[in-house]
């Protein structure tokens, strides 16, 4: 009887010991799966985010396309003629959820260059009613970006709206050293950590010739129209809120 009691006591001791041991975690806690990144096919991220956030298809988000030294900027939303042509800084309004192809030409600092970057509109701003055109999302192209693209590289930038708590003190668009991440890192996730991703810019050296890489080469058919070019509004443009992150 005493022997059986000691055996039961051993069993109880084993279970108690086991329950007190630290239990390993089966899955990583506090991490999230990030299926979207800068390498997902162009247009996919915008399509998903638009569906999730339920953006109004009629909303046109003003953007300001800036090329150093100036340039002629054409905005394509599909094959054929461009939807808008303007001079840098070009102010156009585009549909969130869509991808557009730009044409940058007649750049005084790069006289023979002609580039066709794309912009993927992920999200929109929510400005006060009637002041939509005073707060365009900047789409900057730096000299380094253009040089790298002309050298055959692919430069991807993510423009995001900074969290106020993490906002930089200096004007982020004019910082000497842009934030750059390694190609192996998820630039979209990093931008999401710092704020709200707004636009993905992809800049390479491909030009449309006879046959394109896909039927969506020139865009996904969103609306585009020229915005009011209000220089005084540009002066009031707050230095806030948007910064760029680059990879590749």
């Amino acid at each position: 009887m005493a022997d059986r009691f000691s055996q039961l006591l051993t069993l109880v001791a084993l279970f108690v010991t086991a329950s007190l041991l630290p239990v390993p975690v089966c899955a990583q806690q506090g991490t999230f799966h990030q299926p979207l990144n800068q390498r997902t096919p162009p247009g996919l991220s915008a399509g998903w985010l638009t569906h999730i956030r339920g953006h109004q298809s009629s909303w046109l988000q003003p953007v300001r396309i800036q090329v150093p030294g100036g340039a002629e900027v054409s905005v394509y939303s599909g094959p054929g003629e461009p939807a808008a042509i303007a001079t840098s800084p070009a102010r156009v309004a585009v549909n969130p959820g869509h991808t557009y192809r730009l044409r940058l030409a007649h750049m005084p600092e790069f006289p023979d260059a002609e580039l066709y970057p794309s912009i993927e509109i992920l999200d929109r701003l929510h400005p006060p009613a009637g002041k939509e055109h005073k707060y365009p999302v900047p789409v900057p192209f730096s000299r380094d970006d253009i040089r790298l693209a002309l050298a055959g590289r692919l430069v991807t930038r993510v423009i995001y709206l900074e969290q106020p708590q993490l906002a930089q003190q200096l004007d982020p668009l004019n910082r000497e050293i842009p934030q750059t991440v390694l190609p192996s890192e998820n630039v979209l996730q990093e931008a999401d950590r710092l704020g709200r991703p707004m636009i993905i810019i992809r800049l390479g050296a491909r030009r449309p010739l006879q046959i394109q890489s896909s039927s969506m080469f020139f865009g996904t058919g969103g609306a585009a129209q020229l915005s009011v070019n209000d220089e005084s509004a540009q002066q009031r443009f707050p230095r806030i809120s948007k910064t760029a992150m680059r990879t590749r």
Partner: protein
């Protein structure tokens, strides 16, 4: 006595079994789930859902086109091209560099088209095809009259290369070293590929080129590049002359010089190249899924189950990177999930000449496995409405709202 001995054995074995049970429980509890797969990082919690990578999502397939939470709906302007790599209209833009003055021509259906491009120019080559090119006009001393006839293999767009090919041009460079190798009867294979992110060490990444003459003997540059990234273009050339004068026997028994048409870009005769071979769209990766299409249909082919309603797409076919019968959208086909659980390839042939591997078994394992959201089975909806008695109703601007009663 025997029975008594057995009873004694049972009475001793009972707590022993509990001991082993307790030890087993202790082992499982202390190890947790970490030992189940060896890595400890991919064991799912009950609420975890795992879909294919975003770039591999396609409709129909796991996580797409179904009801329920966590399932993304199809949007025409964004997802229409997902999974469409191998699109017949897709083209890769190639830029020829390296030798100033080099002239590029190519083979067309009825001959050759010379002087179509010059060094530094670019051309859109339709994908999934092999082209016969012609390089002339070298200005390097000793190679002025050299004519090369390389083949250019243009691979299809992969989800990994789509972003790059959409925005960048693929450089194909011919160097003096290449010419020297060819002059010494060496064949040169250049593989231009986009490295996987894990193999990119530079902050600003680009394409890489593997050259056969710089690799150790026996190493296939194509296989090497496939390990490092995704191949976009393969250029192969040696010193074979494809325009040697040949003779054919005429009807009267005499030999006549054979001829072919030669077009010249200098005279405005610009003709696109004709592929000399086509590459199957799914040449790389695991074999495609094979699911019977249903009544009267061929595997993977659309069928027309209802007269007059036209063809249906092959619903139930998974469009993801593995052929292991991933569960499809919960409502397909006909309200039931795609039920294929495994695909086994076995070679049952008994060849007499040279027998290959008798049994070929392809085991594919996703880690973690696909796990999708269960479909909605029950919706309980309950409403609670406010009630009021006569005279207890107020609205903006009413007298009751202003407390006048």
């Amino acid at each position: 006595m025997n029975v008594g001995a057995n009873n004694q054995h049972l009475t001793e074995g009972f707590p022993m079994r509990f001991k082993f049970l307790a030890l087993g429980a202790l082992t499982v509890v202390s190890m947790g789930c970490a030992g189940l797969d060896g890595s400890g990082s991919s064991v799912l919690k009950p609420n975890d859902y795992v879909n294919p990578p975003a770039e591999r999502l396609a409709r129909p397939g796991p996580g797409v086109d179904g009801p329920g939470p966590g399932v993304l709906q199809y949007t025409s302007h964004s997802n229409s091209h997902v999974g469409a790599y191998g699109h017949p209209a897709a083209a890769t833009q190639v830029k020829f560099t390296g030798q100033p003055g080099m002239i590029i021509g190519w083979k067309v259906s009825d001959g050759w088209a010379d002087d179509q491009l010059f060094s530094g120019s670019r051309f859109d080559f339709p994908q999934n095809a092999v082209y016969q090119l012609k390089f002339t006009g070298f200005s390097v001393e000793g190679y002025e009259g050299l004519q090369l006839y390389p083949t250019l293999e243009v691979r299809g767009t992969d989800p990994n290369t789509r972003e790059y090919l959409d925005h960048s041009v693929v450089p194909v460079e011919v160097t003096e070293e290449d010419l020297e190798n060819v002059a010494h009867n060496n064949m040169v294979t250049k593989v231009i590929y986009l490295p996987d992110p894990k193999h990119q060490s530079r902050a600003i990444a680009g394409v890489e080129t593997l050259i056969s003459t710089r690799l150790a003997p026996g190493i296939d540059p194509v296989q090497q590049a496939e390990r490092m990234g995704t191949i976009m273009v393969v250029l192969r050339f040696g010193n074979k002359n494809l325009e040697m004068p040949t003779a054919v026997m005429a009807a009267n028994g005499t030999f006549q010089q054979a001829s072919h048409t030669v077009y010249s870009g200098k005279h405005g005769q610009n003709i696109p190249p004709t592929p000399i071979a086509m590459i199957p769209a799914e040449i790389h990766g695991v074999p495609g899924a094979m699911i019977a299409a249903g009544h009267g249909g061929l595997p993977g082919q659309p069928i027309a189950p209802v007269a007059g309603m036209g063809m249906t797409p092959p619903w139930g076919m998974t469009s993801v990177g593995t052929p292991i019968g991933l569960p499809g959208p919960p409502h397909l086909p006909l309200g039931k999930p795609a039920g294929l659980q495994s695909v086994t390839f076995r070679d049952r042939s008994h060849n007499q000449i040279s027998s290959p591997v008798d049994d070929l078994l392809i085991d594919v394992k996703r880690n973690p496995p696909i796990k999708t959201v269960d479909p909605v089975r029950h919706i309980q909806y309950e409403e609670t409405h406010p009630t009021h008695a006569p005279g207890e109703l107020a609205h903006p601007g009413s007298r009751a709202a202003h407390g006048l009663y």
